[in-house]
Amino acid sequence: MKQRNPDIDMNEVVISIRDLYKSFGPNHVLRGVDLDVHKGENVVVLGRSGTGKSVLIKIIVGLLYPDSGTVSVLGQDVSHLNSAELRELRMQVGFSFQSSALYDSMTVGENLAFPLRRNNKKISNDQVRRMVDIVLDAVGLSQAVNQMPAELSGGQKKRIGIARTLILKPQIMLYDEPTAGLDPITSTEINNLINEVQRRFNTSSIIITHDLTCAKETGDSIAVMQEGKFVAKGAFDEVFRTENDLIQSFYQYNFIQ
């Protein structure tokens, strides 16, 4: 189990979500979500598939808009930002997609350099190359710089996806199912990488997962989502002592596994 990060600043909230609702037609996905993420904290959002976990982080980064409620990121209300302000905010928030979402017409190096060049017109080629080397080194894939995404394994794609978000030096990381579809060894490597990113880049994170091992190894605190709202929040041990049926079946299933 992960040791709680001693550098968490409980006085500084970087993401604050209050009374958040979101529906898609008749499907009520989020039904009154409240969540605080403190500076330096890794918060794991655990829940079954289709409970609205990914929708939650897409709202945080402004890819979706809530029906009601507020989402404040680094002190700014996301739903009230204009496109320029949203772009500024997004540079502070890294988003690692479940599918990695690498640009498949570009090499790994170009994938990493792309957001950097787009957001900094004056950056020199040498600086770009140096930054690419740094983030590739951070995810342990320096040798992959000239490879195409199609040539990478699932775990390598996840790492490159994380590296691409790190290149903009975000303060916040959002991981959508970082270990989905990976074998246990690769999953452990990704979990270690998430912790390494937290230590080395001093990021605060939300990790969306249904993998209890991932939750245990990466979370400073855990929030369990059921039917569009949180039914338990706190440290791993605290949460899994509660009597909720979903939490107990999660625990038993993973124990059997």
Binding site: G25, K58, V93, L102, F114, R118
Partner: protein, 264 residues
């Protein structure tokens, strides 16, 4: 606050009519956004040049073959009718009018709708369903400007150039047949061909090609950008791009011909 009662929203008229008007509204906002983003700096020069290469240069082989055969076959088909009246000397002029006024813009547009439209629809559709467009968005990159504006601009700029090339290659095809049958020199052929061609013919064809290019670009980008349902959605985006582009091209052809004829 969440106020709906869990029942599906009732359509205003019928589900089909609602969907049609919603589609028209979405298309209109997409086109309006294109012009808004077009006027905003920075201009994506490198991506625009890359798209011009994809749309223009990579279509040359197919365009050359189609244009050449169109000119050749049109000449061959027209000869028997003209020779009945002893008017084969009018062939260069007839073919030039047909090619420059109608065939070159239309053939170029239909070839590009099939080749370029399906390619753009599939590429953007695939990027959409694999979350690559979302990835650009969250990396503080404007995907609309990078992906849509450059592609629509490339098709709009390249179609008139391809159309001029098709016309030239088509006339060469026609010349080959005329030369083999009437032993006409190339200079005489082209002098006769351009004898009845006016500035309005060139201007109208260029405008038509630009309109077709814009249509192919915007329709394909819209279909790709709004693709859903995984790989099935990508196929649907590619297919719909071609079908709608061709449909609109024919409608535009009819309208532009009416307008141009009223100007003659």
């Amino acid at each position: 606050m969440d106020s709906s009662n869990g029942q599906p929203d009732k359509p205003l008229i019928t589900a089909g009519i609602d969907a049609f008007f919603l589609g028209v509204y979405n298309t209109w906002t997409f086109v309006a956004r294109f012009f808004r983003e077009l006027c905003r700096l920075p201009f994506e020069r490198r991506e625009f040049v890359r798209q011009c290469y994809q749309v223009g240069y990579k279509s040359l082989a197919l365009i050359s073959l189609t244009g050449f055969i169109t000119g050749l076959v049109f000449t061959k088909q027209s000869r028997p009718s003209l020779s009945e009246f002893g008017a084969t000397s009018w062939l260069p002029s007839l073919v030039a009018i047909a090619i420059i006024r109608a065939l070159a813009p239309l053939v170029t547009a239909l070839i590009c709708a099939g080749k370029v439209g399906s390619s753009i629809g599939a590429e953007l559709g695939s990027m959409k369903v694999t979350e690559q467009i979302d990835a650009m968005e969250v990396s503080a990159i404007n995907p609309f400007k990078y992906l849509v504006v450059t592609r629509v601009l490339a098709t709009t700029v390249c179609l008139p150039i391809l159309m001029a090339y098709t016309a030239l290659v088509g006339l060469m095809g026609s010349y080959l047949d005329v030369h083999l049958n009437e032993q006409l020199s190339i200079t005489t052929f082209f002098l006769k061909a351009f004898n009845d061609i006016t500035f309005l013919d060139f201007a109208a064809s260029t405008f038509k090609a630009m309109a077709y290019g814009f249509t192919i670009g915007i329709v394909s980008c819209y279909q790709g950008y709004h693709a859903t349902q995984g790989t099935q959605g990508v196929g649907k985006a590619a297919n719909t791009s071609v079908v709608i582009s061709m449909f609109l091209i024919f409608i535009e052809e009819v309208i532009i011909v009416q307008v141009v004829n009223s100007l003659r």
